[in-house]
Amino acid sequence: MSPSDLTTDLLFWLFGAGAVVSGYLVFRTDSMVRAAYWLLASFAGTGALLLLLHAEFLGLVLILMMAGEMTIMAVFMVMFMMNPAGLNPMTMVHQHKVAIAAGVIAFLGLGAVGLLGEFPERPLPETTSVDSARITADLGRELLGESMLPFETAGVALLATMIGAIALASRKGRFGTADAGSAAPEPPEEERRRREHEGSDDGGHHHHGHGHDQSHEHGHGQDHDHGHGHEHGGHG
């Protein structure tokens, strides 16, 4: 075994074990931001393995993609989870034994296929060393040559996803703002009329909750174009 083979094996075990361990730690950490970044570490391990397999471009693109995606996931964790920093440790799992059994069965099944299957032996064509520039150039020619249909379909699918995600997640819709559902319920009619008579605020127009006056909201919503998730309280 030449020294470079030994180095490659060592690096493979290091990155492979690192990817699996950090993937496991994703579900063991209390802090949610750390969970997102353990997942990034797992992807970085996979990316490093891809670099070892001479798929340089794919490995680096994986790391690039996952850096942005995991940061977005960290931001979403903070938005939606009740314990983002893990300061109050709690376990939130359901059907734990079923899940462990399913995971183990999946691992054993796929591992058995990997260990016992007969795969053809056609390694990458070696000249003196494997030429990664040629591999990337081959991928480029393939993307725009033989495999142009899958490539363009993936592109159109990504475009459809972008449009769909914006349509689903945008704040202003045809029927009012999107957080009308998550606003506090409006006060009942009598209370509102009573408050108007008392004259406590400015005529009772700017109560909590956006949803009850649609036309007012439309006239209002035009100049709030920032749209980066700023929650403008009562009326912005």
Partner: protein, 101 residues
């Protein structure tokens, strides 16, 4: 670094992803499990390309399509999570157990 070892690592990543997707209560954590599964799939695809394809670039094409799948799944998943939260004020699977609020 043999094909068998790489496929075992990919299977381990996939198994952990299955465990996470089935056991977590929060939507975002379920998505992390799904991402791990696709991670394992990408590793398996590229290892098979490295060992059994003779350098044909279609193996890398599969990995590119898998990365596009990952991006699509993440984007739509986040958009749906936001929507479910807005409509039902729910961020965990247990909170959307009933059909009608």
């Amino acid at each position: 670094m043999s094909l068998q070892a790489l496929l075992v690592v990919a299977a381990a990543l996939f198994g952990i992803g299955v465990y996470g997707a089935l056991s977590q209560q929060s939507f975002v954590m379920i998505m992390m499990g799904l991402e791990l599964m696709v991670n394992g799939a990408i590793l398996a695809a590229v290892s098979l390309w490295w060992s059994s394809s003779g350098g044909s670039p279609e193996g890398q094409m599969l990995a590119v399509v898998l990365m596009a799948v990952m991006a699509v799944e993440a984007a739509m998943g986040f958009a749906l999570v936001i929507n479910v939260y807005r409509i039902r004020k729910a961020e965990m699977t247990e909170q959307v157990e009933e059909l009608e609020r």
